[in-house]
Symmetry: C2
Subunit: 223 residues, 2 copies
């Protein structure tokens, strides 16, 4: 695929387009104009056209976008056709929830192994996976050479686990540990999912909203 | 607090500054220059100065930033001193993991109640919380008037739960359901934590990295 440098904001919007196009497809919508897509996604039509123009020409003047063709293009841009495989490291509550309820396969990723240190968990089944002993992490990763590690271990163990994974050849880490991992960026792509940052951002926006509302009340006092 | 419109990118960086300043404080660092802070966070000193300038003047020429004072300012900007309270709705794996392992209080939020529909879960304790019956959601929210709802219910129930919460006076929703909630934006602040979007973004960056590497291999063939 021809690659141009695309801004992170555009990349972060692609999964939202995918989700919307899936919804449209499920509702039987075959094609959609950039105006209507924008209305449904709170984006301007020109922003949508600009986003897609980063990757080539998808729409057609006067016709709009073919929903399933656009969906397929975005899926391809996101690497969903690359048959990525993943291992999950740390089967605590979060790890367990991901194995049980997160549809990795819907996003083109196959979960091939899970690991934990707790001996009462090792050997048990979660769905179709058997939990393996953390001691075998290097060996199994070198054998299965998965692309992605889903890192769900406790904080104090995050960097050790990450280093083991990178040494064993892991190319991407989906990091749930809330620790900024200290691994060389040129070797591995890190995607952090920081719960705390998200809650703090909510706190910011909520504070802002409350300040606005109290200002409005002050400016328009009830008589 | 005086409010200026601050870009989302800046707001999203604030929690990272907070985390870094906590680390520095724990290591006994009292003050830090924008240059050193930038080096440790992969940001340029001018970007750091620009980020903070949105909120006023924190640093001092030739001295740098006082770590604990800057930490306190950022915490305040993020609303961490506002004693937000929260209820958690849906005690499945994710909800359970959040109650058990996520330190809400570290981010200035107090969890005051949890709800589920499953009758075998209702009435059980998780940490200091007793799980309440989902049927009592409206009543309890109207009584306790928490600021935030942590939404961890199954997808099909997400919008119904959100509507009940908004009607009962919830001002912010921390949304773990992967459903784009259909509630009026002027009434409620929504912060989505979309696992799927994060994994898809990882897939994008990983694909990009792989394409770069295969290009490098092609351009420099092994003789």
């Amino acid at each position: 695929m021809k690659r141009v440098k695309v801004s992170n904001n555009v990349i972060r919007r692609l999964p939202r387009y995918l989700q919307k196009l899936d919804e449209l497809g499920e509702s039987g919508v075959d094609r959609i104009s950039s105006g209507e897509l924008g209305r449904q996604m709170n984006l301007t039509p020109s922003q949508i056209r600009q986003d897609f123009s980063c990757f080539g020409e998808f729409g057609q003047q006067g016709y709009g976008y073919n929903v399933s063709a656009l969906r397929a293009e975005i899926a391809k841009i996101l690497g969903m056709d690359r048959n990525f495989t993943a291992v999950l490291v740390g089967v605590g509550n979060i790890g367990h929830a991901l194995i049980d309820h997160f549809s990795f396969q819907n996003y083109g990723v196959q979960l091939v192994a899970a690991f934990d240190v707790k001996q009462d968990v090792v050997g048990t089944h979660i769905g179709e996976l058997v939990v393996r002993d953390m001691k075998s992490l290097s060996t199994v990763v070198e054998e299965l050479h998965p692309d992605i590690a889903v890192l769900c271990v406790p904080k104090y163990f995050a960097n050790d686990a990450a280093k083991t994974l990178v040494s064993a050849g892991i190319k991407g880490i989906w990091n749930f540990t809330n620790v900024e991992l200290d691994v060389p960026e040129n070797a591995t792509v890190i995607e952090n999912i920081y719960f705390s940052d998200s809650l703090l951002a909510l706190g910011y926006y909520l504070s802002e909203r409350m300040d606005e509302m109290s200002k409005t009340v002050k400016n328009h006092p009830v008589n």
